[in-house]
Symmetry: C2
Subunit: 575 residues, 2 copies
């Protein structure tokens, strides 16, 4: 790292300078942004006059296979595709504050290089030829800063690309923006002192989720065809569910993380993983297959040496996909999901049954034990890592995601297990951490046996093929209120390959409040009280599809099956 | 666990009782053991009159494929094969003290069950049908104690089989003895208070290595066709090298460890792995393929979901095996190997070149840094785990592997980095452990890049296919003198799939002492001074074949290539 000599500057001054740098995009790309009280800004790209009809046509092409085919077939050049997405990304930035690094000239130069290559050789540079890809502000790009929302990291210029960046370049992609995160990466929302808060383009009063919330807002606005986030407790799935996207939380070390910056680097008990976020399920396969086919284990020593398996994608372990048995986790027994989630899961059940599959109930096991174990692992250093990084600049460690103004009247009570940072606790010893590992292994073993035992009630002769579950007990809540991550963290702790896909939108007519149930705990009660059909009306509702460890291929295939089933149902209902 | 109510008994009394229990094999199986000064006891099975000619024929069948074919073809029943190996194991026990649990009736009952199955169904029970397999005293067998050399664990009766035991049963195998370890599993020798010291059947003045030294001595005496050890720093490779065996240290979590007892359980920074130990390379493939084909990830949540790859075994990533490039690590720059190791490596080079392959020199990188990092990880709890287990019974933590009598005159000086247990140090915090992980990842990345970069000097267009290296800088040393584990630990730290195969035996005529070199450090000097051709004459000399992470299939195939090349050379020389 170089150019990191300004540590003595006041952290606020560093931030101001950085924000000015970020704002230096072409003045012609400035739009007349609607005022703050306009909540849903999804129509602005169409009305703001910055994007041409062609730009709209390109950026509205959500099917990644179609985009890649047009790029490979030279119907669209990478320069024009990159320009179109860049313009829409800058619109998204002005509306939701989703970007951190903007480097138009560099990206267009790269796009030109890709175009020239195709013209000169007649062949594509790689499987992601010409495709603009946005990256969470962790994936280092040589010559650019990787700030990750820390004032102290402003000015840290990367000496080299992260392995994932390098592979994307080799695949012919065009990294073109980097996106916002929360300080410490340990919240399910997106706010830091350097870049501020990212909002949800479907309703800016609501959070875009986090920690990959910059990607969530950007991709939801179709400002990027594929964004890459990371997930240690839900950080690609929460923003995807809140913003209406598709994503995949792959298993530990299936994708390369090497050379990316991170919080709590070296924490290997529950590993963070990269994951694509996109507007159609084809993007998940295109991304995963391209990266895995590039043999990432030759560049990142931690990546599993496991080729992309077309056989597993054909559901060889799941009866070739002809008659699957899904289980729905309606409620994890810790926080009861809000009515829109129940409706979404009923839609999934109906659609799958209509497509000839079976749907049974999932019986949650050891949920509180897993939650506590995972939270104890995340907090093993008692926040030492976060404090040390903040100390370098003097920037405070953020203690809440609540905004200072325009705050929602409700505050969720103390979270169920603990706050993300909490008061300073005692750091665990290595030996104590090992005891948590023992407990974690026992919990994983119990869950595996529990899952295997479902074979006796699926009717397929196999255990449940996948679990369908909420990604959170609510849709995107108002800023500061996303305090429960356990529907997602469950999968990190068990290392389950898990996708998120969009199902529907909250409908204040259909999603009436439920009768109060016997509350599981104080947090469940607070969550019940939060539900308000008017507040959430119009917000996307996504669900998780949970598969087994290292079953990425099968999870993508089953996500396609569910997605098609939902679309077929909607079509049948004439919607 | 049950029957564990004797903790208040004096630990010595517990041990006496346990030893009496172990000695309760049929009196007819007692042999006239040669006196202690008879060092090489490898001929005793042939002269002791316990084994019939048929027993000898069976137990001398070292090729596992042949054994399995005779069992499957009903030329030999499992009962007779198990009986033959059991007798030879009991001979080995009387000569080298290699066993911990002896359960003849149970094993023969199991063998009968397997025979009956084949008779009744006409098909084998599984890929290891009828094969007796010995297990290191970590792999729990329901209803038996798993003592692991701790006085406090005497009486701990397992409620269930470890996952590996379970899979072996499903594969049709006959677990028939369990074998000795060192207290704490953290030494490269085999001695504990409960079962005493295991000696090397080639020369009982020398160590059998450890921590899987019971398997080393047992399999070397052909008292078991395949033994299963575990390896966190060399614990299957050191005894295999010292006893003249084949073994495979597979990558983290390729084989199931779930349900086995362990030292420092929950330490996940450098994971211990199970590994087969056997007298011919066919045993490695038979074992690995059988276990992996059983889909261990359906029983152990940590196991990598990666099928046995016949394609990788055919060396698809290594030019189909037609012209390979090996690199020899003659010397790691920390301890210069003794002359017999150099001769063994020269034999390998010559044999491989004669077979049409290329052999270049390996250039060691960051050896001291990796060594220190690994040792710091192993010591992260400052021995707390060991002390806690010993405290339960009052048994002391063993501080040296040196025998009290008949000790070698030399003592290696203070080890290079630290002793296994050392004086009580400060336990690391979780955060400090994470810093070691960061360092470890950087070291793995550097080593990966270093290995990839060899592509420009192999002449094959690929990086080096495998490294050939000593497993220790010496052959089996006298008890108490195996104080350097870094030739093996290197592979644990880097997670390299690594085999050991036997090459030759020390020959006091051929292996003259080398001229003193410029010593790398005090330990290297002490090691130089230890070499004595007379002392080591007749000891087996093995080498490691080091492949990449999760390249088990390719490593086995390349081990076959080297083994065949060595045999062809010997045949050509009329030996």
């Amino acid at each position: 790292m170089s150019s990191h000599s300004e540590t003595l500057l006041d952290w606020r001054a560093r931030i101001t300078k950085k924000q000015q740098q970020r704002a230096s995009f072409p003045p012609a790309w400035l739009i007349d942004a609607p005022p703050e009280h306009v909540l849903n800004v999804q129509d602005v790209p169409y009305t703001c006059a910055l994007l041409t009809a062609r730009d709209i046509e390109i950026t509205d092409t959500t099917d990644i296979d179609v985009l890649l085919a047009k790029l490979a077939g030279r119907q669209w050049s990478s320069v024009e595709v990159t320009t179109a997405f860049y313009k829409r990304a800058i619109v998204a930035q002005q509306l939701t504050n989703c970007l951190t690094e903007i480097f138009i000239d560099r990206a267009l130069q790269r796009a030109q290089e890709v175009d020239d290559y195709l013209k000169a050789t007649g062949t594509v540079m790689g499987p992601l030829h010409g495709l603009p890809i946005s990256l969470k502000d962790q994936f280092a790009i040589k010559g650019l800063e990787t700030t990750m929302g820390y004032a102290s990291w402003i000015g840290k210029v990367a000496d080299s690309d992260s392995v994932l960046t390098q592979i994307l370049y080799e695949c012919g992609a065009v990294p073109f923006v980097r996106t916002n995160v929360c300080q410490t990466l340990s919240w399910g929302e997106t706010f830091n002192h350097v870049f501020g808060r990212t909002t949800n383009p479907w309703n800016r009063y609501l959070t875009a989720g986090g920690s990959s919330g910059g990607e969530g807002a950007l991709v939801a606005m179709k400002g990027s065809p594929i964004g890459v986030g990371t997930d240690i407790g839900g950080s690609v799935r929460i923003p995807s569910a809140f913003c209406g996207l598709y994503t995949l939380r792959s298993s530990y070390e299936r994708l390369p993380y090497c050379g990316a910056v991170n919080a709590q680097e070296g924490q290997e008990s529950i590993s963070s993983v990269p994951g694509p976020m996109t507007n159609s399920v084809s993007g998940l396969k295109a991304f995963m297959k391209a990266v895995i086919d590039s043999k990432p284990w030759e560049k990142d020593p931690l990546v599993v040496r496991k080729e992309w398996s077309e056989k597993e994608y054909q559901l060889s372990e799941h009866g070739e996909g002809s008659k699957l048995c899904f289980a729905v986790m309606w409620d994890n027994g810790l926080l009861k999901p809000h009515p829109p989630l129940w409706r979404a899961m009923r839609l999934c059940k109906k659609a799958l049954e209509a497509a000839g599959h079976t749907v049974i109930d999932w019986e949650p096991l050891n949920m509180m034990e897993i939650f506590k174990n995972a939270e104890s692992i995340y907090n093993a250093d008692a926040g030492h890592d976060f404090r040390e990084v903040c100390k370098e600049s003097g920037e405070p460690v953020i203690q809440t995601m609540s905004p200072e103004t325009n705050k929602h009247e409700l505050a969720l009570d103390e979270p169920l297990v603990r706050t993300v940072l909490g008061p300073e606790q005692k750091m665990l010893t290595a030996w104590e951490l090992w005891q948590l590992h023992k407990e974690k292994r026992a919990l994983r073993k119990a869950q595996l046996d529990h899952w295997q035992a479902t074979a006796n009630r699926t009717g397929t002769g196999r255990p449940v093929d996948a679990i369908i579950s909420p990604a959170a007990p609510y849709v995107a809540p108002p800023h500061g209120l996303n305090n429960d991550y356990f529907y997602t963290t469950f999968c990190n702790a068990m290392d389950y390959a898990t996708s998120v896909l969009p199902v529907t939108f909250v409908d204040e007519e259909l999603d009436r409040p439920a009768q109060p149930h016997e509350f599981y705990n104080h947090h469940d009660k607070a969550n019940y009280e939060l539900y308000d059909p008017k507040l959430f009306h119009g917000a996307p509702v996504g669900v998780q599809l949970i598969g087994r460890t290292q079953e990425e291929e099968a999870v993508i295939a089953m996500t396609e099956i569910l997605d098609n089933a939902l679309k077929a149902c909607k079509a049948a209902e004439g919607k």
